[in-house]
Amino acid sequence: MGHLAYDAAHLFGGAVLALSFVLLYQRRLTAVINAYALQALVLAIAAAWQGWAQGAPHLFLTAAITLGVKAIAIPLGMHSFVRRLGMNRAVESALGVFPSMALGVGLVALSIMVVLPVTAQSHMLTREDLALALSVVLMGMLMMISRRTALTQVIGFMSMENGLILAAVSVEGMPLVVELSVAVLVLLAFAVFGVFFFRIRDQFDSLHLDHLDRVDGGPR
């Protein structure tokens, strides 16, 4: 495996991270969904590249799952959610765009500082890939925290899961079982969230999570 194979893998990881920032920057629901689809697409390319570079054919399967489910099926489903629910097209954010981007950079720095010392004995580029993947996970969490509507939080959750897959493909010798189960898990979560959406809307005529604060069983 040449230098180029590592470099390209690294670059794809960087692209996934950059797309996490793009996700945070969007102000429209459809644009968020498209950015998520693009991130999944780049992740699929990264997985396929790792499959070729590591000579691990099962990674091609991971790439195909990522491409089919996360880059195509889920975004299409999301778009139809937005249409059918007649949702507000603006992203409601608890935090301004610029503060959340700045926090994102802080999270990247944090994940680098966390990953590098604990993986001191492994290969430099593997360590950087892990740092990239951890940043993507943390940025997904940030998105879940800083966005108000359920759909954007789901996208944050799935973007976080993209980070997990990125970590899984960049470490050599990860068994397929893990990846398959993670993929299925996301699909399940997606279905659950879908049901959840409709429940929330039936109950409250809105997808605004503030409405849930009133039903916590506490004193009214």
């Binding site: 670059l11 950059a18 920032f21 981007m101 994102g104 720095a109 950087e128 990239l132």
Partner: protein
């Protein structure tokens, strides 16, 4: 012998930059018109406009000071000096030792400051608004540019553009996440510095949305010709800068015989054409953003540039 070649390359380079800059503007306008299913003016129209303007007498406001009539020439000279420092088809031109990224950034900033001062000179409201907005953008763009320069300096061990291009063309650095992030930052910067569409509309003559055009609203005749030539040259300098740093392939190495220049010239034309095409498609597909969104946009360029520096520190083993 090398010195003679270097000087010849410099002369050819300057001629090429001067001749190609209006053509580039014309080509971008033509492409944008075609993308909107219009016919568009011919590609050499900017040259015709320049020739027409150059023959006309400038109209000066009554209270214009010497600064007002000196500014177009000074801004053009600063931009031309920057153009002389950014290599196009060959490395190792006579100006190579001086082609420092900080100097190039400084010369472009100088041109901008001169025009901003001239915009306020006559005392009209639009000139003042244009100048103040241009300076607001500049104050956000400069830190991002400095961070990008810092990234490249860390990578190449110096800020000399000629050396950086020479190092990167060898491919010894490979693909770097830092370089990709720095590229994103510098693309955003190029859009801001040249007043392209998400920031400012170069074709706009609606006063409320103008930035650069508002600043130079009072100019006419040969002064306007110089300002438009400087703006065209600036766009070419930025595209050339991006091409020289991030796609230095095909550029003739220092001291190469003139035959290699031909290859370098072909590669340069190809790179500028690709960048110009990308710019046209991008501008056609996006709407102008509100003025107060621009600092946010530039803040993101700063963040990307900062990430580039962080990753570079990491991969060089500082952490």
């Amino acid at each position: 012998m090398n010195a003679a070649f270097g000087f010849l390359a410099l002369i050819l380079h300057l001629g090429l930059m001067l001749a190609a800059a209006p053509i580039l503007i014309g080509a971008i306008r033509k492409l944008k018109a075609r993308l909107l299913a219009r016919t568009g003016p011919p590609i050499i129209q900017p040259w015709r406009d320049l020739a027409r303007l150059a023959q006309k007498q400038p109209v000066l406001a009554e209270n214009a000071s010497w600064l007002f009539s000196a500014a177009p020439g000074a801004a053009f000279a600063a931009t031309l000096a920057a153009a002389a420092l950014v290599p196009s088809f060959a490395l190792g031109m006579t100006t190579a030792p001086a082609s420092d990224l900080l100097v190039i950034g400084g010369l472009l900033a100088l041109a901008r400051v001169i025009l901003a001062l001239a915009g306020m000179d006559v005392g009209t409201a639009f000139g003042g608004i244009g100048s103040s907005r241009e300076m607001m953008y500049a104050s956000f763009a400069e830190p991002a540019l400095v961070l990008v320069i810092f990234t490249l300096a860390l990578l190449a061990g110096g800020t000399n553009l000629d050396a950086i291009a020479g190092l990167l063309v060898g491919g010894s650095q490979g693909l770097r996440v830092s370089l990709a992030l720095a590229l994103l930052a510098i693309l955003a910067l190029a859009l801001v510095e040249n007043g392209r569409i998400p920031i400012d509309n170069p074709a706009s003559h609606l006063e409320l949305t103008m930035v650069h055009e508002a600043m130079v609203l009072e100019y006419s005749g040969r002064h306007l010709a110089l300002i438009e030539a400087a703006a065209a040259l600036k766009l070419l300098v930025w595209l050339g800068l991006i091409a020289a740093i991030f796609a230095p392939f095909g550029i003739a190495p220092a001291g190469a015989p003139p035959v290699a220049w031909l290859i370098g010239l072909g590669a340069w034309v190809g790179k500028i054409a690709v960048l110009g095409l990308a710019l046209s498609v991008f501008e056609t597909s996006i709407a102008k953003m509100r003025v107060f969104r621009v600092p946010e946009f530039l803040g993101i360029a700063i963040l990307f540039a900062m990430l580039a520096v962080v990753f570079l520190f990491v991969s060089q083993g500082f952490a």
